[in-house]
């Protein structure tokens, strides 16, 4: 099946306008919470600057910090694995599953495992994982992917959740009470935690100087899994490294405020070594990150701490939904990360933006997201991932606009044409502008013509 482009999928999303409004307003509410939270921190801009500089420094010295981290982690008793891509990452995990004859797996939220399509891979091998983040569990029941990296089921209303739980958990049909529904999920997940012999988690920050790592959740589900299971596998993209534990003071203050407007996530759990009898594994994944690190214009996209503030502020994201982006990480940050992995498949994404710049302003680590969107557009066109129609149109436009006499003639001719044959421009089929908007008036005189007549000495 052909994957819909962002524009096609968005058009479909918007067909239900009241739901689009609800989606927009829900995420705008989160953006406003973020703003209020920011106003409680006078040194906010300074924190952003530090967060950006620490990450810049880390990316420039990544090899050393990764080696330091691996040494310390190993000394703590953590088993460290390296994976060049998603396939290797998945293989590492299935090997551990096989060696330990694991039957029951719980997984807390990890966008990396979404990126590597771990669930799909394990499912194809007959192994089931249970996502324990509430939002992720909901989309898992529905056989969907997360539509947002922090709020995976934000595209769903409580009525949708109620129907899903009725089908999968046997809750009362039509009972939309959030308290009732979360209690049902809680009881369901408790049994999964108790039964699990493997817990897979993500990593928010890996600290080079200690060899430990931090996982942030609001539901405590990473802890429930890791504390109960005899094996813990934590998966991280290699850009999660920070040099020192004290740097957490910068990032933990920014992360939750940027994400949801909370001062801090409910659980910021520090893992440093396996408890007695437990195995703790860490999979460090590249999957295109080295390539991105080598792209001067795009390397600093690796500073991302996955707060999703850029999603919540993006006027396009709010009105098109995460699934329109057809990638694991959607939204503005996804649009500058995913063309690196597959430029052809994701060629439409850097164009799914008005370049309004709000994403760069909310970014807690100061990634110049909208500028990178612009640069991806140039690269995508120069690599030829653009329709021939668009190419011809742009060439024609560039030709006319670089020749003043031809421009004046064409402008006059076009205006005359619009006056004579307005129905041609008023074609909802041929002219996307006209589908839902009136054309500007075709005037008799341009400013240049007026100036010639009235001002020119």
């Amino acid at each position: 099946m052909k994957v819909k482009t962002h524009a096609e999928a968005a058009e479909k999303f918007i067909q239900d306008e009241p739901r689009t409004d609800w989606h927009d307003e829900t995420l705008w509410f989160v953006r406003e919470k973020r703003d209020r939270s920011m106003h409680g921190v006078n040194e906010w801009e300074l924190l952003r600057e530090w967060a950006s500089k620490i990450k810049d420094h880390t990316l420039s010295n990544l090899d050393n910090y990764l080696i330091e981290f691996e040494e310390k982690a190993k000394a703590n008793g953590i088993i460290v694995h390296w994976a060049a891509d998603g396939a290797e990452h998945n293989q590492v995990i299935i090997d551990i599953i096989g060696e330990n004859n694991i039957q029951k797996i719980v997984k807390s939220k990890s966008m990396l495992t979404e990126e590597c399509r771990l669930n799909e891979f394990l499912h194809s091998k007959g192994i089931e994982t249970v996502d324990t983040d509430l939002g992720e569990r909901i989309v898992q029941f529905r056989d969907e992917t997360p539509s947002h990296i922090v709020l995976p089921a934000i595209h769903l209303k409580k009525e949708d959740v109620s129907e899903t739980f009725h089908q999968h958990l046997g809750t009362e049909q039509g009972n939309n009470d959030p308290q009732y529904l979360t209690e049902a999920a809680r009881q369901h997940l408790r049994s999964k935690f108790i039964e699990a012999d493997l817990a897979i988690t993500g990593v928010n920050f890996a600290i080079a100087e200690t060899g430990g790592f931090v996982v942030c959740t609001n539901e405590g589900n990473a802890d429930m899994g890791a504390h109960a299971a005899s094996i813990h596998i934590a998966c991280m993209g290699f850009e999660k490294i920070i040099p020192k534990a004290e740097h957490l003071a910068v990032y933990l203050r920014l992360l939750a405020r940027s994400a949801t407007g909370q001062p801090i996530t409910t659980y910021s759990s520090h893992y440093s070594k396996p408890r007695a009898g437990q195995q703790m594994h860490l999979v460090i994944v590249d999957n295109g990150r080295s390539k991105q690190l080598g792209r001067a214009d795009f390397r600093n996209s690796l500073k991302c701490i996955r707060c999703a503030a850029c999603f919540n502020t993006c006027p396009v994201y709010r009105r098109s939904g995460g699934h329109s982006y057809h990638t694991a990480v959607s939204g503005p940050i996804g649009s500058i990360l995913t063309p690196n992995i597959d430029m052809k498949a994701n060629a439409d994404l850097p164009f799914a933006s008005t370049l309004c710049g709000s994403c760069s302003n909310v970014c807690p680590v100061k990634i110049d997201i909208h500028e990178q969107l612009w640069k991806w557009r140039q690269l995508i066109v120069s690599e030829g991932y653009v329709s021939s129609g668009k190419k011809i149109g742009m060439k024609g436009m560039a030709f006319v606009l670089s020749k003043p006499a031809l421009y004046r003639f064409s402008g006059k001719a076009a205006r005359g044409f619009m006056r004579l044959f307005p129905f041609l421009f008023r074609s909802k089929k041929l002219n996307p502008w006209y589908r839902q908007r009136e054309m500007p008036l075709a005037l008799k005189q341009s400013f240049t013509e007026w100036y010639k007549q009235n001002k020119k000495a």
């Binding site: 006027p315 606009l401 502008w433």
Partner: protein
């Protein structure tokens, strides 16, 4: 003070009254205004679509037309930002001078001409649309995402207009969805964004929506007219140039 007047292509073709108001306004403040007759476009439509490589012809023509001025002024934040960020030419001396001496009209009035008083009157309720490139690109006003002191150059000027009742939409600096070629390639999202902007202004019962960017207004105007709304659009230069009746 020798000022080169840059009237972006779509203003030239569809909104000559914006060019006229800008010219008259600058002359009122004693500027020696020249309008180079062979100007066309800044090249932004191509560049923002990924075809920056094709805008060399526009760049060359721009440099040829706008050399030798103390300042270049345009009634469009977006086009000015494009020139500031992306104008390059073999004649780097001239291109560099242009990049650093080109101003959007309201920032030129506030920062260079230091306008503190206007002889203008516009007895209507006006909603200000903040255009993204003017705000986040040229920093014409403070931004809701940042911790920074609040200010607004367009608002300051509108405050000097007699009889004008000023209003702000609920989300004061959300994008209108025009976005250059975005408006046709992502038509559905573009129009939805525009409809939402318009609705907030309509809620405030404004007579006019104004902005420092004609492109945003062209998009909003198209939506308002299709809706049969009584709300009109007007460029800020036309308000600032309106005379006392």
């Amino acid at each position: 003070m020798k000022v080169g007047l840059f009237i972006p292509c779509y203003i030239d073709q569809f909104y000559p009254q914006v060019g006229i108001a800008t010219l008259q306004l600058l002359e009122k403040f004693g500027c020696e205004v020249h309008f180079p007759m062979n100007q066309t476009c800044c090249g932004q439509p191509m560049a923002n679509s990924g075809f920056a490589a094709l805008s060399a012809g526009c760049d060359k023509n721009f440099v040829k037309n706008f050399s030798g001025f103390d300042y270049i002024v345009a009634p469009s934040g977006s086009c000015v930002l494009h020139i500031k960020e992306h104008l390059y030419d073999a004649d780097e001396g001239t291109a560099g001078h242009i990049r650093t001496h080109i101003y959007e009209l309201t920032e030129f009035l506030v920062d260079v001409l230091k306008v503190e008083k206007l002889e203008a009157a516009f007895p209507h309720k006006v909603g200000l649309h903040i255009s993204c490139h003017g705000q986040r690109g040229l920093h014409l006003s403070s931004m809701s995402e940042l911790m920074e002191p609040s200010f607004s150059k367009p608002e300051k000027l509108l405050g000097m207009v007699k009889g004008l009742e000023f209003s702000k939409p609920k989300r004061p600096d959300e994008c209108c969805g025009f976005g250059g070629t975005f408006c046709v390639f992502e038509e559905a999202v573009s129009v939805k964004m525009g409809k939402d902007r318009v609705a907030e202004h309509a809620e405030n019962e404004v007579d006019y929506i104004t902005a420092a960017d004609t492109s945003c207004l062209m998009h909003l105007e198209g939506i308002l007219k299709r809706q049969g709304s009584s709300v009109k659009t007007i460029h800020i230069s036309e308000i600032l140039n309106s005379s006392i009746v």
